[in-house]
């Protein structure tokens, strides 16, 4: 629960404004400058994948606050959602160096390492939803 921001990704400007929103929220939440950079970079990867492979979609950035555990946990959750072609083979896509676009193939496995939690749900012809969380330490 808390502050949330949604950014539509249709052009490269969408990528820029998504990571700006993420960086602002991360700063407000009290993340270190290294973690701010990690969060902004993860958003950049997910948003660029949307732009490249699905043409358009959205990035949702939320502030998480879990009071039910002690000590209370706080963090930032990124959701990248699109209704693009989906990822045929998720296992391949998560491998370092796997790319269908002549890139470095470092985006998805990189996001998993940049963040604390990572979840990917994708169906061929339906779309892709990726969530990633960074906890405040």
């Amino acid at each position: 629960m808390g502050i949330q921001s949604n950014v539509e990704v249709q052009t490269e400007w969408g990528i820029v404004s998504a990571r700006q929103a993420g960086r602002n929220l991360a700063k407000e939440a009290g993340f270190s400058s290294v973690d701010q950079a990690r969060i902004a970079t993860a958003i950049s990867e997910l948003a660029r994948n949307i732009y490249l492979y699905a043409n358009n979609g959205e990035i949702i950035i939320e502030f998480l606050e879990n009071e039910n555990v002690s000590p209370p946990r706080r963090g930032i959750k990124i959701t990248a959602r699109d209704e693009g072609p989906g990822i045929d083979n998720i296992r391949n896509a998560m491998e370092d160096g796997y790319t269908t676009s002549g890139g470095l193939g470092a985006g998805l496995p990189g996001v998993k390492r940049l963040m604390d939690e990572f979840d990917i749900d994708s169906r061929s012809g339906v779309g892709t939803e990726i969530t990633a969380i960074k906890w405040l330490r």
């Binding site: 290294v34 701010q36 990690r38 902004a40 660029r48 890139g103 470092a106 985006g107 990189g110 390492r113």
Partner: protein
């Protein structure tokens, strides 16, 4: 437009102008603000309304030309679009009010009259909006051009050594410019060493890294060497997290260290002079 309507506007010219000037005065304090002297406002207002009414006498092309010239001048001096749109709204209501209260309007033709006036006013508003958007597009075009020139400059700092300082977001278009400018610049300045400074790049993601790696390879292909400088600590961490291998690239943490390395690679170094002006520094070698 029907001659009878033109005739009517002419007959009521003073009444229309006075009424409009009164209305525009209230609009103006809201839109233009107070940074223009009142007399100038009044003069512009009068010229504007007279020009609009006068266009009835010109043939269409000429009328458009007159309007364009007038609007362009105001755009140039920073008048807001809302001055024109609100002004034309007031003009329409003043006209319609004059028409309906005035003598000589045949009630059977009142719709026709209104319709003609609406069409006339709409045409003017459309043209004004077109002039504005044209001038905006023009401005954006110019700014884009200026931005492109600024976005990836290759600067020769010493003989054989050039620096490309990158500041701001790198998108696809800019990545292309980096490659083009670096390769053209190397030839032009006969650079042996190129320093790419990424101190000002906020996020280095896989795409940016990929473009830098490709630029470095291209630099090597044309016979020069590339040194990447200005990798901030948090950027170094994210690059490692992404699993990107910059091992093949030469890197230095600061631009100064990069320049020193560049001088060394071209068999030169910076030495202190032993003359009276002991603090001055020159390049020897």
């Amino acid at each position: 437009m029907q001659p009878s309507i033109i005739q009517m506007i002419h007959n009521q010219r003073h009444y229309i102008i006075d009424n409009w000037l009164e209305e525009i005065n209230t609009v103006q304090t809201e839109t233009v603000g107070n940074n223009v002297p009142k007399e100038m406002d009044d003069e512009t207002n009068r010229k504007f309304i007279e020009m609009i009414i006068d266009t009835l006498e010109y043939e269409q092309r000429e009328a458009k030309g007159k309007l364009r010239g007038f609007v362009e001048r105001l755009i140039y001096s920073g008048w807001p679009l809302s001055y024109f749109t609100r002004g034309m709204q007031s003009f329409r209501s003043v006209l319609l009010e004059t028409m309906s209260s005035g003598e000589g309007v045949n009630s059977k033709r009142i719709f026709e009259t209104f319709y003609e006036i609406e069409t006339w006013v709409d045409g003017i508003v459309n043209q004004i909006a077109d002039e504005y958007s044209g001038s905006w597009e023009n401005t954006i075009q110019l700014q884009r051009h200026a931005l492109n020139e600024l976005s990836a400059p290759l600067i020769p700092v010493f003989e054989k050594i050039s620096v490309m300082p990158l500041v701001g977001t790198i998108d696809t278009e800019r990545a292309k410019l980096i490659m083009e400018n670096v390769l053209e610049g190397i030839i032009e300045h006969r650079s042996h060493v190129v320093l790419i400074d990424i101190t000002g790049v906020p996020v280095v993601d896989t795409m940016v890294a990929h473009h830098i790696i490709q630029a470095a390879e291209a630099i090597r292909l044309v016979g020069a060497e590339c040194i990447l400088v200005g990798i901030r600590p948090e950027i170094a961490q994210t690059i490692v997290n992404l699993g990107i291998d910059l091992g093949k690239l030469q890197t230095k943490s600061t631009l100064q260290q990069g320049i020193e390395a560049g001088l060394q690679m071209t068999q030169r170094k910076i030495v202190k002079c032993n003359t009276e002006s002991a603090s001055s520094v020159v390049i020897g070698g």
